[in-house]
Symmetry: C2
Subunit: 160 residues, 2 copies
């Protein structure tokens, strides 16, 4: 573990937590009815983004080798199907709880990991490949998912 490694972990995690917080604030400000609005005419509904982000974050638990996922049932609705193609989706109240619970569980694990554990491989890369491509580590996953979150946060900002 090196000092500069700790620095890198800090800047990546700071960005993650700050973007989760900003997204949280957007969802919390909206009523359950408003969650059914589209972010722009003919585009995804807010509730779809809520489910989509929850599914993506839930998948980080096994990907980062931290835990089993809690909500695999979300994938069919919010990852592999476009919005409005599945008629029965979880309720707003449940999705809000899944979203909150998933981010809290990630936070719990993130805070326990030591700096040198962050540069360990994630679960979608083989040990052989990791020897050649050591940047395919846990930290890289969090950085990529933070960008993914920003991407959808920019869309949610259009609701204003």
């Amino acid at each position: 573990m090196t000092n500069s490694n700790q620095l890198a972990v800090k800047i990546v995690l700071d960005a993650w937590f700050s973007n989760v917080k900003r997204t949280d604030e957007v969802f919390n400000k909206l009523t359950d009815e408003e969650l059914m609005n589209e972010i722009a005419p003919g585009k995804n509904r807010v509730i779809y983004l809520l489910g989509h982000l929850t599914a993506v974050h839930d998948r980080m638990l096994p990907l980062l080798n931290l835990d089993e996922r809690a909500y695999p049932q979300l994938d069919d609705i919010f990852l592999t199907s476009p919005d409005k193609s599945v008629t029965e989706i979880p309720s707003a109240i449940n999705l809000r709880a899944f979203w909150k619970g998933t981010n809290e569980k990630l936070e719990e694990h993130f805070k326990k990991l030591q700096a040198d554990e962050w540069i360990q491989k994630h679960n979608s890369v083989s040990s052989d490949d990791f020897v050649k491509e050591p940047h395919r580590n846990r930290l890289n996953v969090v950085l990529g998912r933070t960008n993914h979150l920003s991407y959808h946060l920019g869309q949610l900002a259009l609701l204003k």
Copy 2:
């Protein structure tokens, strides 16, 4: 310079370059006329985002202590004023060239910086504060600007 520091630099720069490329592809696919479209009804026009992102990236040159900025005249139009409030804006052809030139200049500098130079302070933090907050380094700026780019890239994706 440590190996783990090099890794952190690589994952942050990879994310930067990949997002610049994706955004480039969006702008390149659009005609000059299409740049005048709004990303959603009543929202920013694409040309505003092009100017906005160029201004933000141009400002990274002095912020990262790499170079003087090239296009300070963009700030009044694309940073401090909302879209459609300034009637005379640079032409699409000029803005496309500014955008391309700015990212190329950044890339040139980024490729020359050594890993230990990335954890040097950026220009908006005093030397005193940097001693206490060493995460306020160049790498952190690039990470933040990558998230900013993803945010607007998510909005540009709504054009499809």
